[in-house]
Amino acid sequence: MSRHIAEVVENIEIACKIYKMTIISNQVAQSAYPGQFIHISIPHDESLLLRRPISINRVNRNNNQVDIIYQVVGKGTKILSGLEKGAELDILGPLGKGFWIPKGTKKIYIVGGGCGVAPVRFIGERWDYLDITSFLGFRGKPWAYQIDEFERFSRKVFVSSDDGTIGYKGSIISLLDKHLSVENPDLVMACGPVPMIQALQKTVLKYDIPCQISLEERMGCGVGGCLVCSCAIGSKDKWDYKKVCTDGPVFWSEEVILDGESETKC
């Protein structure tokens, strides 16, 4: 929770238009936990005012390196992708309320879709003593990344793609559904595009499995002051707008009300 300057150590394209950037930030490396994000000021172009929220993919507490993974979708991420080793980034972080492990949790399923694969990797890195099974969905092979990293901490990794070019052809949630019909983990933890999250919500409800999901919403301050990052949390009859930046981005699945019109990109 601080504003500071982080140095870029590496910035490489790891899949189609998807970049992994490693920065040095002891503040983030030492205190971040899975599901949290950093809020990045875009350098060079003053016409872009807002910071960009990007989740933490991994931290290394020994050398203070922090990895983030981002897809180039607009002007801000385009500029980020052009930064070279030695560049300086003005960041805020770590921010947000991330994933947490309720008492007694032993067996978890990790579910990631597209860019949502990046943040959930941190779960496995940090809590590798749990019994982890991972479900990763991609558009296709050119967009897939870090499957090997998940293999390191997962009992098993299931992969699917929309076009069948890697793993099963079809939605990762139908794959998850099959597994839930035979085995119950203590907890599901997920991040991904809105349609995937909506399918997930139905599935975990059906099997009555506790599930934490990480949401995305357009942000301003990132620190809880401007109220622009609202998402509807509660039940259909009784809900409130909560802040994705400080109340989330991680919420209990059954409390998240998605209207289906929210934007997604990957």
Partner: protein, 308 residues
């Protein structure tokens, strides 16, 4: 830089420096306490309050535009009572002026809120007649001089604290509205609120904002805000709190030269939580480098040769 006179007086209230957090962009202040020492601020205008709690508008509530942002928060807030009971006590621990920004759907609601706040330990009231994201019968109060006059007058009768009237810039003639606020008994004017705008996503062919339109703020509007401050400063006697796109110490100087007595910082807080400290520092640096020992030399100090 230690001997600079930075304090200003607005309607009898002394501000240690001219930097005030703009309503709606700095929460209730306390959200920012880990990033900024609130004691260093001239004042804080809290998030727009309403009589009852309000949920606000559907997301997305923010869009980025060239050098600007559009927001459509729509006055999400926990209501004036919650503010008084649960938030103000925390805020009062800091040595800075507290301004309550009040919003109503009816004249009655405004008066009701003023009454409710009468005995409360806040420094000033800010009558927001200008939120573009909440409409009453399709037209916001602040565009009609007679409405502005009568609401100001009525609220003034119900309030003990000095009253700031915050104007919308979405009008043909801002001076007319400012004069109405002064006539109604307003003790100061703050301007500008946001300009009504819109952004469209060409991929989805939909508006970016859940509310379709939103209020434009940030550097994009600075030239418009500055012009309005200059016009209003020549039309009224009461002090002006200027705002609109201030991101640097030099921007503060521009608003003071145009006639503002103090300034508010809005969008800059969304960009970086400790912006106001940096802006104040840069402002002091400007004064130092330009051998300006007192802020009073800058206020209204624009040198103009009127065109013939």
């Amino acid at each position: 830089m230690e001997n600079l006179k930075l304090n200003v007086n607005i309607a009898g209230v002394s501000f240690k420096n001219p930097i005030i957090a703009a309503s709606g962009t700095f929460g209730f202040g306390v959200e920012y306490k880990e990033y900024i020492d609130l004691n260093h601020l001239g004042g804080i205008s809290v998030t727009g309050l309403t009589l009852e709690p309000r949920k606000g508008n559907p997301p997305p509530r923010i869009a980025e535009t060239p050098s600007g942002i559009l927001n459509s928060v729509g006055l999400q807030n926990p209501g004036v009572d919650y503010f008084i009971d649960s938030i103000l006590p925390k805020l009062k621990q800091y040595d800075t002026n507290i301004i309550a920004n009040i919003n109503g759907n009816t004249l009655d609601e405004y008066c009701h809120m003023a009454t409710r706040l009468q005995q409360i330990d806040i420094d000033m009231l800010e009558l927001n007649l200008s939120c573009p994201n909440v409409k009453q019968g399709g037209v916001s109060f602040g565009t009609d001089p007679e409405m502005v006059y009568s609401i100001t007058k009525a609220v003034k009768e119900h309030s003990h604290q000095p009253l700031i009237v915050k104007l919308t810039p979405n009008v043909t003639d801002i001076t007319e509205i400012a004069i109405a606020a002064q006539k109604g008994g307003g003790d100061a004017i703050s301007l500008v609120n946001t300009f009504l705008g819109m952004a469209i996503d060409v991929k989805t062919r939909r508006p970016v904002l859940g509310n379709i339109t939103g209020g434009l703020s940030g550097p994009a509007i600075k030239p418009l805000a500055l012009r309005m401050v200059w016009q209003v400063s020549r039309a009224v006697e009461i002090p002006i709190i200027g705002m609109g796109g201030i991101m640097t110490g030099e921007d503060v100087v521009e608003f003071l030269l145009a006639g503002a007595t103090a300034v508010s910082i809005g969008t800059a807080n969304l960009v970086t939580p400790d912006s106001m400290v940096k802006i104040l520092y840069d402002f002091k640096t400007y004064m130092h480098n330009n051998k300006v020992s007192s802020i009073d030399e800058l206020i209204g100090g624009l040198i103009v040769k009127m065109p013939t």
